[in-house]
Amino acid sequence: MSGRFSRVRLSARDADPATLLLRGAHVLDPRAGLDGAHDLLVRDGTVAEITAAGAASAPPGCEQVEAAGLTVLPGFVDPHVHLRTPGREDEEDLESGSRAAAAGGFCAILAMPNTEPVVDAAPVLGSLHERAAQEAVVPVGFLAAITKGQAGTELTEMAELAHTGAAGFSDDGFPVADAHRMRQALQYQRLAGLVLALHEEDPSLSGAGVMHEGAVSTTLGLAGIPSVSESVAIARDVQLAGYEGGRIHVLHVSAAESVEAVERGRAAGVQVTAEVTPHHLVLTDDAVRSLDPRFKMNPPLRSEADRQAVIAGLRSGTLGCVATDHAPHSREEKEAPFEEAPMGVTGLETAFAVLYTDLVLPGVIGLDLLVERMTAGGAPYDLRAPTLARGAPANLCLLDLNASWTVGESGYESRSDNSCFTGRDLRGRVLMTVARGAVAYRNRGFSIRLAADPGGPVATRESA
């Protein structure tokens, strides 16, 4: 929703517009109705031609990729990452975080404001955009806090923050626990515009919990976070949004009851959207039996029934997009006993391959649905989805869906290594990402294979 002040900005450093020809790739873009072998020409950062395979001719100086057997998708959009900047640049900064995004096939990301200091005032937000314009390799948008210091007591200067280019408002990491404060934020939204992105948790129910409440928490003797601590907060805010005519986006839905609460709101005409993370789609609390803090995040990994419910929600569109909740943590913080370790896992570099391996290959969902949901992250924030349609700015990724790789085998682009998929063998590797018309990422192995494997899919470069 656009209020009178809002003008969402995404910032990235300047880069040369790409001119490249992807020959014979399988081009898949459900929104543009593309699903077949094509030559795709990007000229000066714009999708210039999509022709039959072998039909396009390369303009002088054009980089050519023999892409038969490879797949081109619209670039993914992650509406929920933590870039730890300002304040914890030892864990992530705008350069490393955006590089991790590009390595995962993302062409745009939105960062949450729970930094040190919190993004709760226009100068902090303005300086982040300036830094992103120097450092970010893919466009980055920034949400601002709903309440000052994310303390849940005073509203931020939402109108000025909207004017300074906030993508939305969120106290992510914390709920807006007080119902009256939430109501005021929804009222003020009529002036400021922009969606309220909500971390839904009733802290009086989640308490000191560290994992999902159920048989596993009981076995391990760990304090549980009941699924209803999430769903009762969603139900409350859906009703408040309906009452005030406001618009909300529910972050990282994890529980079956939560999917139902969002569904009921949508059926009643409330403006509510929702997202789901890769880890909630493929893992359950069973993984916590290892007591490995890499499986500790908030909301926690839940039961198999909850996992099935969020998959069904992804399919139906109740959960309209995939969001990684990429949350880097330093090694010394994460190497603590489970109860002491901080919540959060990284996710940008593994999101597509995890979902492709665990949901698409076994036939749980189709590749076209996964592409739709991974490119739809901007929709709750009124950002247009990337498309491969002719004339669109080039936002795409080139993948080898047959490539196998082991998570973490050659380190991470992220500055942190707290991936809950470390050591997993996955299928589907991003080889190249083009964001806002410029090449943002090339897989290192991709260019090496150029000489080593002349029989396979080969990248060739013809310089002018």
Binding site: E213, G214, A215, S217, T218, T219, L220, G221, L222, G224, P226, L291, E332, E335, A336, P337, F338, E339, E340
Partner: protein, 315 residues
């Protein structure tokens, strides 16, 4: 067996083997010289991040009876106090090349973390609210002395199951040894889905007369502040084991320390059915058996339990 981290890891034969060794150690303790040279020249580290009287003292005495050198470290007054991480503390203590590290810590999985960062054998002496395997083994030992076997025995565990690592380990151990376990307590102090551990759940003591054994848990007064209980008076009225509820044929156990007049009335503590001091005595021989199993057991091949060295036949 390299480590004792969790009762859930032990098979019935594992438990029976440790029981057999403990029985032979109990014979040693009836002698004038209650010490065997089994672990002479080897070092046992006792690392306690939480207060403990009986567990720490019984592991200390067990190590001494086996002639081990003993180092006791408590968080209070050590570098743990100064913010040293568990990993760094283990690295420091491992430099003494200990044969075993006995650890109690307030975090689930702490003993497993230690096992991942040392070459020593690790004994879990209580990790958060997760497990307390040596307690479960000494409780099984105590009951076997009285009942011969736990097969078919009906055991009720009564009280604050939610916060109890003893309850978790004992449910595993008792069911593995063939007993039927019922947990009983206020609904606010029974963890969700506890049936998944293989026990039944009751919220009143109406059926307790059918039990062969009543195992009362310690009720911590600090639970009152979180409104787990409306009042201690109401808890006592509903869950205290007193002489009206304890039948003469039933056995009564408690991990200690007891809150007299709360979970147990004074008269049942001193009744002939109470095994509370037997449990403490069993703690010593069972912990000797655990150290023996971990530190000597592996060397003796697979042809059954090795003979326990005696004063007459030192190792």
């Amino acid at each position: 067996m390299k480590h004792l981290l969790s009762i859930a890891d032990l098979s019935r034969p594992d438990i029976e083997r440790i029981m057999g060794v403990a029985e032979r150690f109990s014979e040693v303790l009836e002698r004038d010289i209650k010490k065997v040279p089994t672990l002479r020249g080897r070092t046992v580290v006792n690392l306690f991040y939480e207060s403990s009287t009986r567990t720490s003292s019984s592991f200390e005495l067990a190590a001494k009876r086996l002639s081990a050198d003993l180092v006791s470290v408590r968080s209070n007054g050590s570098s743990i106090d100064k913010g040293e991480s568990l990993r760094d503390t283990i690295a420091t203590l491992s430099a003494y090349d200990p044969a075993a590290i006995v650890i109690r810590a307030p975090w689930a999985g702490a003993a497993a973390i230690v096992a991942g960062h040392t070459t020593a054998s690790v004994v879990n002496a209580g990790d958060g609210k997760h497990e307390h395997p040596s307690q479960a083994l000494l409780d099984v030992y105590t009951l076997r002395r009285r009942l011969g076997s736990l097969d078919g025995a009906d055991i009720w565990i009564v009280g604050d199951v939610l916060h109890s690592r003893v309850a978790r380990s004992n449910i595993h151990a008792f069911t593995r040894m063939g007993a039927r376990v019922t947990v009983c307590g206020p609904p606010t102090l029974i963890p969700r889905d506890v049936e998944a551990l293989g026990c039944e759940v009751r919220h009143d003591l109406d059926g307790v007369s059918a039990a062969d054994v009543i195992y009362a848990l310690r009720m911590q007064h600090e639970r009152m502040g979180d409104s787990f209980l409306p009042s201690m008076r109401e808890y006592v009225a509903n869950y205290q084991i007193d002489s009206r509820r304890l039948h003469p044929r039933q056995l009564l156990m408690h991990p200690g320390p007891v809150n007299r007049g709360v979970e147990l009335s004074a008269e049942v503590i001193e009744s002939p059915q109470a095994l509370i001091t037997e449990q403490v005595a069993a703690g010593l021989v069972v912990r000797m058996a655990i150290l023996y199993e971990l530190l000597s057991g592996g060397r003796q091949g697979v042809a059954g339990p090795a003979p326990v060295p005696t004063v007459e036949q030192p190792a």
